[in-house]
């Protein structure tokens, strides 16, 4: 029988706020075996990260933990004095976080930061430390580590930084590595690389890996055993294969059902219809300014000659990695940024560069839904005011009484009650906020809604409901969507056509089923291959 590395029994964490106690982790128990990969999945707020932090005893002051025991090897981490705990943290148990940009100190070189970890835990001479750092960087496959050891975090890309983080975590030669959403902030293709790296290092070193994620598909391809967490409780623990083939708990079944699948694309090839919007050779560049007088020294081409056609009542999905110019294109389309070249043809009229009153009149045709439902609403306005804003500015002839009625119907259409109008945005959850944003865009009866990653900040089950809502609204109002996303699985659920963007250019463009089943361009193929799928056995 394999030995247990970590054995948690009845762990609970409680947060104490001014006037209430919130039980965030509720009596969870699980084991992690030697050189095993253990997955903990659950939606945001289910207490995944908090349980990891509790085991490392890194909880904020307002939190209180209790439990029967938390054995790491032979030691009970609940009763261990803080000094001994320090020898375990970073040395025996290491952790990597979601965002490497925040976890690394921006003013120290990465070599310095890794060697810091080594210095704490081992007594080595400085040349030995130097060579250890180099070995570690080589292990995480940073190209030419000798020249990069003195570089600062901002000189690395997101994926490389996560590699550096892994190197720093490995520096203590841990028995258990906790990876808390290690790839959520990264692009799909990079995500795949990081996961392969983690897996291969684990095999080399023989440590245990505890992977925390919200992404069921990702977990299924990585781990040996999975625990599903819901509202602070572990509802199901099973071998990966068993959990994904025969999920027992209703919640697990619901999660699996909600998972968008890349194979579920619409089969019909009917993408003809009236042309609503035509983009002709769109080029958007940002000026690069330098020197004391802020002279423009060059231009950074964010969008480089894009041609797209949008049909009435259809959905065009725009896919690409972060930084490829998707959002810039959307903002250019909405006239929110300057330096847009090319023709944006709307009903035979070029709307690029419209100014003043004609532009305002055009506004009701195209609306936008943003990615982050938290920053997209003014926290100091009531929901009713937020939704009514467009009506007030574009249809001033509507009386305030009528506007209230209109707002109430809009709220009901997006699945919220009419009373919500007198509440503030912060009282709603992420999914509900996204519904309010949809209602706001819908208020002015647009013919086209640009959805800029509307679901990527949401949990899987919420994501599914928002997609369904968008679909039903599309049928009701015969709107078109320009759906910007990095998630190919979502694309297959909603889109009719697909355009793949890479470095400001559209590399492949066509009906969804065609692109997903028979990608021609190598980049599209790579993108498709990197999408994590539920793979069992």
């Amino acid at each position: 029988m394999t030995k247990r590395v970590l054995s948690v029994q009845g762990l609970s964490v409680q947060f104490q706020t001014d006037n209430e106690k919130v039980l965030v982790v509720d009596d969870i128990s699980f084991d992690i075996l030697e050189s095993e990969t253990f997955g903990l999945v659950g939606e945001s707020g289910s207490g995944k990260s908090i349980s990891a932090l509790a085991i490392l005893r890194l909880l904020p002051r307002s939190a209180k933990m209790s439990g029967k025991h938390v054995f790491f090897k032979e030691k009970d981490l609940l009763t261990l004095p803080e000094t001994s705990m320090c020898q375990i943290r970073g040395r025996r148990i290491a952790m990597i976080f979601q965002d490497p940009m925040i976890a690394l100190n921006p003013v120290k070189s990465i070599g310095h930061q890794i060697s810091e970890v080594i210095k704490i835990h081992f007594e080595l001479s400085s040349s030995e430390i130097q060579s250890r750092v180099l070995t570690l960087l080589r292990q995480v496959e940073i190209p030419s580590p000798e020249s990069r050891i003195g570089d600062y975090p901002h000189q690395f890309s997101g994926g490389q930084l996560q590699r550096v983080m892994i190197a720093a975590a490995l520096a203590g030669e841990p028995d258990l590595l906790i990876a808390d959403e290690p790839t959520t902030a990264l692009d799909v293709t990079i995500q795949a690389q990081i996961l392969t790296l983690l897996k291969s290092i684990q095999r080399q070193v023989g440590m245990s890996l505890w992977l925390i994620s919200h992404d069921l598909a990702l977990v299924s391809s990585m781990v040996d055993r999975v625990a599903v967490m819901k509202k602070g409780r572990i509802v199901e623990v099973a071998e990966t294969q068993q959990l994904f083939t025969y999920p027992e708990h209703a919640y697990t079944q619901k999660l699996l059902a909600a998972l968008p699948s890349i194979d579920s694309c619409r089969e019909e090839a009917n993408v003809t219809g009236d042309i609503l919007l035509e983009l002709k050779n769109i080029r958007i560049s940002y000026p690069v300014r330098k020197g004391i007088f802020n002279r423009i020294v060059s231009h950074h081409q964010a969008v480089d000659g894009v041609n797209l056609t949008l049909h009435a009542g259809k959905t065009l999905a725009l896919v690409g990695e972060s930084g490829c110019g998707k959002t810039t294109l959307a903002k250019g389309l909405l006239n929110l940024i300057e330096n847009v070249e090319g023709h944006i043809m709307w009903a035979g009229q070029n709307i690029n560069g419209l100014q003043g009153e004609p532009l305002r009149q055009m506004r009701s045709n195209i609306q936008i839904i943003f990615q982050d439902p938290f920053s997209s609403m003014n926290p100091r306005m009531l929901v009713g005011q937020i939704i009514g804003e467009g009506l007030r500015s574009l249809h001033p002839e509507i009386s305030s009484q009528q506007r209230k009625v209109e707002v109430a119907t809009l709220l009901q259409q997006v699945g919220l009650s009419a009373e919500c109008a007198t509440r503030y945005p912060h009282e709603f959850s992420g999914g509900q906020r996204q519904r309010i944003c949809i209602a706001r865009a819908l208020a002015v009866r647009p013919k086209l809604i640009i959805c800029d990653e509307p679901t990527s900040a949401l949990d899987v089950s919420v994501q599914e409901k928002i997609i369904l809502l968008l679909k039903s609204l599309q049928q009701q109002y015969e709107m078109s969507y320009l759906f910007i996303t990095h998630d190919l699985a979502v694309v297959s659920e909603i889109a009719d056509e697909l355009a793949v963007m890479y470095e400001g250019k559209v590399v492949e463009y066509g009906p969804v089923y065609q692109l997903l089943n028979d990608p021609r361009q190598p980049y599209t193929q790579q993108l498709l291959k990197a999408v994590p799928k539920i793979s069992v056995g």
Partner: protein, 447 residues
């Protein structure tokens, strides 16, 4: 009735506040924040104390002519109420509650002999035959008498109120805790009455170099402090808010222009700028004596001009902060969404930007308020502050420079100015904190 410039401006401010309060009284959105402030104990205590300060300041801002009083013949309502305080001047320094002068002098006794010692005060404790023995008991008795007078006054007043309230109980909308508020007001009124009773017999905070009552000076300084704090803020605020938001929102040449102007202004040492401007005013006053018929109006104009110049030089800090915040806000989703919804720029500025920078404005205004009172002290030090004849904490602190060097130390003017300034700034801070929290919807979650 004589209206000085600052009086007019203070009452203009007050009327504006009252009129806007009247128009906003039925506004739905205000109900929740106001209730929240009303439920906050420290905020209510601060408010009551602040109101007392403001009331004193307002009384001190109603001037009228009273022949034979003072050199200029102009006194304020506050002066009228506290007549014994400023009429009973001693020869020079005397300690709080003392019956003797602080410095030795030749005393001519009844039998014509002269002796060297501490002479009795003319007014402070003059009713005592033998201060060494009687004073402590007398102070206590006077205090108790004063407190009970205040208490009786409160009881009768509260009784009357209770009768009136019973009739109007249905109209009270705010959830003020009447018991708590009542107790605070009673404590303040009773304490005040005790102080009034004592101050008619003693110099409770001592006297200064020319024998003037320090307690009187401190309460007269309240008006100066409030004028400098509020008028300067109302000159500085529009400049900072308008320029800061415009620069952050429009960027481009507007931003450049505003940025360069405040950088230029910032690069000039403000003390020199203020000194130069004040000297200009002084020369103007000397050249046009016909415009300034009395001391009061001269001092008043100097105070007003000080506020003006302080306001013009102090808007840059807040402006820079607001510009930075606006730069951040204009990229927020809701501002972008408003643009897409066709909201005009002016609408975006008022609906989205301004409410979301309000907390910064509030905090820095309150912090500036205390900084301004201190700035006044610094400027008085180099003789470019308020007129030396104007009572102000700055002047008192400035005077304390020499007093602290004396042996034995004359500590009471400094402590008096310090304590009053401290109370004003602390209560303003606590109250502003509560206001900021109440108007932030994100903090109303657990209602």
């Amino acid at each position: 009735m004589i209206i000085l410039w600052t009086d007019a401006l203070i009452y203009l401010l007050l009327t504006t506040a009252m009129v806007s309060g009247f128009f906003l009284r039925n506004y739905e959105g205000l109900k929740r924040p106001l209730n929240k402030i009303a439920a906050n104990k420290s905020a209510m205590v601060s408010m009551i104390i602040l109101l007392f300060f403001v009331a004193i300041g307002l009384l001190d801002s109603l001037h009228f002519k009273a022949e034979g009083q003072r050199a200029s013949g102009i006194i304020s309502v506050l002066d009228y109420c506290t007549q014994p305080l400023w009429q009973q001047t001693e020869k020079t320094y005397s300690a709080p509650f003392s019956a003797y002068l602080y410095s030795k002098a030749y005393i001519t006794q009844a039998n014509g002999f002269q002796s060297w010692g501490f002479p009795r005060l003319k007014f402070g404790g003059s009713h005592l035959l033998n201060p060494e023995i009687e004073k402590t008991a007398d102070v206590l008795i006077k205090l108790i008498v004063g407190l009970s007078k205040g208490f009786v006054f409160c009881i009768s007043w509260v009784g009357l109120r209770a009768l009136c309230l019973a009739k109007k109980a249905g109209q009270i909308r705010l959830q003020v805790r009447p018991g708590f508020m009542g107790i605070t007001i009673i404590i303040v009124v009773v304490g005040l009455s005790g102080i009034i009773e004592l101050s008619t017999y003693y110099h409770i905070l001592g006297t200064d170099k020319v024998g003037e009552d320090v307690f009187y000076q401190t309460i007269k300084s309240i008006r100066t402090g409030l004028v400098i704090g509020s008028l300067t803020t109302f000159i500085m605020l529009p400049l900072a808010v308008v320029f800061g938001i415009l620069a952050g929102f429009y960027r481009g040449w507007v931003d450049d222009l505003i940025q360069y102007s405040y950088t230029t202004l910032n690069s000039i040492p403000s003390v020199l700028l203020i000194a130069a401007s004040i000297l200009m005013v002084q020369i103007y006053m000397v050249n046009h004596p016909e415009l300034f018929t009395n001391l009061e109006s001269r001092a008043d104009l100097r105070l007003l001009f000080l506020c003006l110049i302080l306001g013009v030089t102090s808007w840059t800090g807040l402006c820079r902060m607001l510009r930075a915040e606006t730069l951040k806000l204009r990229e927020m989703g809701y501002v972008q969404a408003a643009k897409v919804l066709g909201v005009r720029p002016i609408g975006i500025l008022f609906q989205h930007i301004l409410p979301n920078v309000m907390h910064i404005i509030l905090i820095s205004v309150v912090l500036d308020f205390s900084a301004l009172v201190l700035a006044e002290a610094v400027l008085s030090y180099i003789n470019v502050g308020v007129d030396p004849s104007t009572y102000s904490w700055g002047n008192m602190i400035n005077g304390a420079r020499l007093e602290m060097a004396r042996e034995p130390v004359v500590w009471w003017p400094l402590i008096a100015a310090f304590v009053f300034m401290f109370i004003l700034v602390l209560t303003a801070n606590l109250f502003a904190d509560a206001v900021r929290d109440a108007f932030d919807p994100r903090r109303n979650q657990h209602d």
